[in-house]
Symmetry: C2
Subunit: 557 residues, 2 copies
C-alpha cells in the first residue's frame, strides 16, 4: 500500500511549482458539483451537518472538563452544540508527549499525513460548507468555496512551503577539508528538524478554516503539535477539521493529541491564558487588531504570527467604463456584507469628479452609479441573499447604526432585509456614506467592519493616494483598489501603497475582485503595516517554526 506521501506526492509537486511560479493553481475543485464530489455529496453534507446539531461534539482528547458552546447561526438557527472544555494542565503536557515520535517520523511521514488530512477535508467540503455558513453568515456558495477548497488550497500552500523549507538542508552531508598536501579531515554530519513545541491557532469568526489552516498545517508539518482555539461563535468548522485530522493521525500510527481542540465562550475566554502558557511556542492569530496586538506584546515566549484588520481603500482617479467599474466595485462591497478583511471601506474620489472614457463625470455621478450597481445586486432576492449572506454578529449590526448617525451624508441607506430561506437571518443591506477629506478624517481613519462604505471627496488623486497610504501606515490595510487610465498615476499609486505595505489591485473589472486572494499566487496580508506581521504564505511564515540541530562525527580515516 502506498504511503500517504506517495499517494499525494503529485499534488505536493504541483503546489511546489505553483509557489515558485505563482501562476494559477488549485488542487481542490471550487465548483460544488456532483460530478466532482459525488452525486449525493450535497445531501450527505447537509445531513451530516444536521446530525451534529443539538448534541455534544465528542472529541476523545485528554483533560476534558465540562462543556461549552453557544454558537448561533447568523441565519437564525441555534446550533446547540456543546464542545468539551479543556484542562490545559492535562492537555498541553499530553500534546508535548506526542511530539517526539512525530518529529522522529521524518519530513515525508508528516507531510504525507498533512496531505491526507487536506484530502479528507476536501471530500467533506459540503459538510464543512454548512458549518461555515451557519457560523460565519456566509452564503452557501461562498461558504463552500472559501471555507472548503480555497481554505484547503491555503493549507496545501503552507504544507508546500514547509516541505520546501525543511528539505533545503539535507539530512546528511560529508564535509571533507584538505588540511595539507596529503591530509584531509572528513566529518559526517547529520541535520535534524527540531520542532518548537506546542503551537496554538486562534481562529476568527468570519473565515475560520481559510485563515486557520495555514498556521495549523505549517506547524503540524514542521513537527509541532497544534492546539486549535476557535472563535466562540465559529467553533464547528474547526472542530470538524480537528476531528478529521485526529482520525488521520491515529490511522497513521501517531498520537492524535498532536491536534487538539480548545473551545471557550465569550463569557469565559481562555485565549490570553492559553497563548501565554510556557508550553506554547508558536501562536497563529486571526482577528481584531486590538487583541492581535495584545498577543504580539504579551506572548513573549512564542513566535507570533498575526493577521489583524485594517482600513482598505480604493483610489478612483479615472476609468474607461463606468458600468464595468461600478459592477466590479459593488460586488466587492456587497459580498458577505463587507465582512472580509479585504473589503474596501474608503473609496477616494476627487470632489471635482473624474474622467470616464475621457469625459468628465461629477463626484455625485460616480457616487450615484456605485449606489445603482449595489442596488442591482440586491434587486433580486435570491441573488441578494447569496451575495450578502448574513451579518455575523450583533456588534456589526450595531456598527451600521452608528455609521448611519454619526456624520456625513447617507447616499445609500442600510435597511433590514429578508432572506426567504431563513426568516430569522440577520441581514442588513450595505450603507454608503459620503464624506469629505477636508473635515471627516475622524470618521474614515478607523476600521468600520461590516457593510459600511465611505465615498470620500478629495482635492485630487494625489490627496487620495496620500490618505490611503496614511491610513494604511497608521491603522493597517490589506488591499487597495486603484482605478486610473493614466500609466504614470497608476505607477505612483502602486508605488506609494507598496511603500505602505499594501497589495494593490489595478483597474479590476469583470469577475475578479479586490477582496479575493488566491492561494499559491496572492500573498494575503503583507506583514509590513499594522494589519498583521505575517503573510499567507511565504518562507518567513514557516522557516522559524522549527530549528535544525546538527551532529557531526569523525569519519573513519
Amino acid at each position: 500500500m502506498p504511503t500517504f506521501f506517495e499517494t499525494h506526492h503529485k499534488t505536493l509537486d504541483q503546489a511546489l511549482e505553483a509557489i515558485r511560479t505563482r501562476g494559477y493553481f488549485s488542487a481542490y475543485p471550487e465548483v460544488p458539483s456532483g460530478k466532482t464530489y459525488g452525486e449525493t455529496a450535497k445531501d450527505d453534507g447537509a445531513a451530516a451537518f444536521q446530525a451534529r446539531l443539538n448534541k455534544p461534539f465528542e472529541i476523545d482528547q485528554p483533560g476534558k472538563t465540562g462543556t461549552v458552546g453557544d454558537e448561533r447561526s447568523p441565519f437564525g438557527v441555534a446550533l446547540n452544540i456543546k464542545y468539551p472544555k479543556a484542562d490545559l494542565n492535562v492537555l498541553l503536557p499530553a500534546m508535548q508527549k506526542a511530539i517526539p515520535a512525530w518529529r522522529d517520523a521524518g519530513i515525508e511521514a508528516r507531510v504525507g499525513v498533512c496531505l491526507e488530512i487536506l484530502h479528507r477535508l476536501n471530500r467533506r467540503s459540503f459538510e464543512l460548507a454548512s458549518a461555515v455558513m451557519h457560523t460565519t453568515g456566509q452564503g452557501f456558495m461562498m461558504a463552500f468555496q472559501a471555507g472548503g477548497p480555497h481554505a484547503q488550497d491555503r493549507g496545501l500552500e503552507a504544507v508546500a512551503y514547509a516541505y520546501a523549507e525543511m528539505t533545503r538542508t539535507p539530512a546528511a552531508a560529508t564535509w571533507a577539508k584538505q588540511v595539507s598536501k596529503t591530509d584531509t579531515v572528513t566529518l559526517k554530519k547529520t541535520y535534524q528538524i527540531l520542532p518548537r513545541g506546542v503551537a496554538v491557532t486562534v481562529g476568527c469568526s468570519t473565515f475560520p478554516t481559510w485563515n486557520g489552516y495555514p498556521g495549523i498545517f505549517a506547524s503540524l508539518a514542521t513537527g509541532n503539535a497544534v492546539c486549535v482555539k476557535p472563535h466562540p461563535l465559529a467553533v464547528l468548522p474547526l472542530a470538524l477539521s480537528v476531528e478529521i485530522g485526529r482520525q488521520v493521525l491515529r490511522e497513521a500510527g501517531f498520537d492524535p493529541n498532536l491536534l487538539t481542540l480548545v473551545a471557550d465562550s465569550a463569557a469565559a475566554p481562555i485565549t490570553k491564558e492559553l497563548v501565554t502558557r510556557p508550553e506554547v511556542k508558536i501562536v497563529d492569530y486571526t482577528g481584531s487588531s486590538e487583541f492581535g496586538t495584545w498577543i504580539e506584546q504579551n506572548a513573549k515566549q512564542a513566535l507570533v504570527f498575526t493577521e489583524k484588520a485594517g482600513v482598505n481603500s480604493t483610489i478612483v482617479d479615472s476609468i474607461t467604463d463606468l458600468k464595468a467599474f461600478t459592477g466590479n466595485l459593488a460586488f466587492s462591497l456587497c459580498l458577505y456584507s463587507g465582512q472580509m478583511c479585504t473589503t474596501p471601506q474608503n473609496i477616494f474620489i476627487p470632489r471635482d469628479g473624474i474622467l470616464v472614457g475621457g469625459e468628465k463625470k461629477s463626484f455625485d455621478d460616480v457616487a450615484g452609479a456605485i449606489v445603482k450597481a449595489v442596488d442591482w445586486f440586491l434587486s433580486e432576492p435570491a441573488r441578494a441573499s447569496e451575495v450578502l449572506g448574513a451579518i455575523q454578529n450583533e456588534r456589526t449590526a450595531a456598527r451600521i447604526q452608528q455609521a448611519r448617525t454619526e456624520g456625513g451624508t447617507i447616499v445609500r441607506d442600510s435597511a433590514a432585509m429578508k432572506n426567504d430561506a431563513f426568516p430569522e437571518a440577520r441581514v442588513h443591506s450595505p450603507l454608503i456614506v459620503k464624506l469629505d477629506a477636508s473635515k471627516d478624517a475622524k470618521l474614515f481613519s478607523r476600521e468600520m467592519f461590516g457593510p459600511i462604505t465611505y465615498l470620500i471627496a478629495t482635492r485630487d488623486t494625489a490627496e487620495s493616494i496620500a490618505l490611503a497610504a496614511k491610513t494604511a501606515r497608521e491603522h493597517g490595510a490589506i488591499t487597495c483598489g486603484i482605478y486610473s487610465t493614466d500609466a504614470a498615476t497608476l505607477k505612483r499609486a502602486q508605488a506609494e501603497m507598496a511603500d505602505a505595505g499594501v497589495a494593490t489591485s489595478c483597474n479590476l473589472t469583470g469577475a475578479i475582485y479586490v477582496n479575493q486572494a488566491a492561494a499559491f499566487s496572492d500573498f494575503h496580508v503583507c506583514g509590513a503595516n499594522p494589519a498583521g506581521n505575517a503573510t499567507l504564505c511565504d518562507g518567513a511564515f514557516v522557516s522559524n517554526r522549527f530549528r535544525v540541530v546538527q551532529s557531526r562525527e569523525m569519519a573513519s580515516v
Copy 2:
C-alpha cells in the same frame, strides 16, 4: 565593464550550492600566504594598522557630534583611536532616506554590492587581522582566519541565503484562471521586495567580524540600511569594515549612509537607546546572555536575532586512544584562552573512570592526561602565545581568580604568563578544577567565560548526559563534545542533546575541534535553547528581513 554581480556571480553560485549540500566550501583563502594575498600583503596590512593608531578614525557620515574611543589591546598597546559619536536624530533619518533607491535597485544590484564589499574585505585581511588581534586578544593566525576569511565566508553565506530567499518569488507572474468554458480571467502580477527599514548590528568583543558580518550582510542584501554598533572594546575591525562598505556603496552610486557606524563607550553606552528607536526594525546581537535577553524583551518594535552565551559540555563515556582524545580536547580548551562561545566548560566523566581502548582508566588518570595535554600546548612559549592569545578583558581575568577560590579541587592552576613579543599582554594559563556532580551543581550550572574548565565526576554516563542537557535547557549551550566507543550510548547522547537544541561533535580527534564552526556547513547556535534565538545561517535568519508586496492588474483581454 561587468557589474559587481556579474563579477562575483560564480562565487555566489558556489555559495548557493554549498548551503544546499553543506559540504566543505570556502570562498576566501584561510592561509595568510603571500602567494594568495600578495607578497607585500602582510607588511602592508601591519603598516596600515599602525597608521590607524593614535589618531581620529574619520567617517563622513551625518550627525557626528564629538568623538569616543578607548580601545586597548589585550596585548598591552593602547590603540588611542577616536571614532565619531553619532546623533541618532540626524543619522537614523539619513539612513531611512537612503533606503528607497537601494530597494528599487533590485536584488542583483544589492547582492553585487555585498559581494564586492566581501571581496575587498578579503583583500584587506591582514589589516583586519591586526585590528582583530589587538582588540579581541586572539593570536595572529586565529585573528587572520576567524576575523578575515572565515568571517567573510559567513558574510557570503548570509548573502547566499538572502539571494535564495528573495528570488524564490518571481518578480512577475501571469495568473490565468479559466472561469467558464470560453472565458479566462488573466491578471498580471508583480512582486516587490520591501525592506524593513534600519537594521542594527550590535557587535561583540571577541569575534566582532565573524559574528557581525552575517547580520550586516543579510540585512543589507535584503534592502535595509545597517547601523553597526561595535562593542566599545572592539570597534576598529567593524569601523574598517564600515569604511570599506561605504566606499563600495558610493562607487556603485548608492548613498553610503546605507552602512554607518555608531560607536560608544562603556561609560556612556548607547545600545539600549539605539535598539529601541522606532526607526530600528531589525536587531542582530551577539554578546552576553543578560543583555541579549534584555533586547529580546524590550526591542519590541524590531525583529531580534540573538547569539548569546551558554554552558557547553563534553560528555566522556569511553575512548579508543587517550592521547588522541586529550590532544584534541586540550587544544579546544587552550585556543584563545577559552574565550569562544563554543569552548567546552564542563567535562563530564564518570567518577569510576572510563574504558580507554577497552581498558579501565580512573577519573584521575583521565584528568591527569587532560592536564598533561594542556601543559604540552603551553610548554613552548611561541606556541603558547599563538594558541592562548590574550585575555580580552579584566573581568575575565578576575573570573579566573574567582574560580580558583570558590570550590572544587584545582588540578591545573592558572598563572600569569609572559608573551615574548608583547611584554604587557594579559595572559593567564588555563585553570582546570575538579568538581563532583553530587554536590557542585551550583558551580558548574552557570557560564564561567574564559580559560576555566570543570572536570565533573558523575555517577555514570547517563548522569553526564542528563546534566549536560539540563544545563543547556536552563542556561543555553552551543556545542557538546561526545566521546563514546559504544554506538548506542553515542546515539542516546546525540539524541538527548539534540532535543536540548545543542549541536554535537562526536569522537573528534586530530585537527578538527568542537569549538570550530564552518560556514556553509555548520549551523552556529541552534536557536532552540537560551544560547540564542537564531542560527548562523539558515532561511529563518534572512526570510523575515524583508516582506513581499504585490500588485496585480487586469491584463488586456
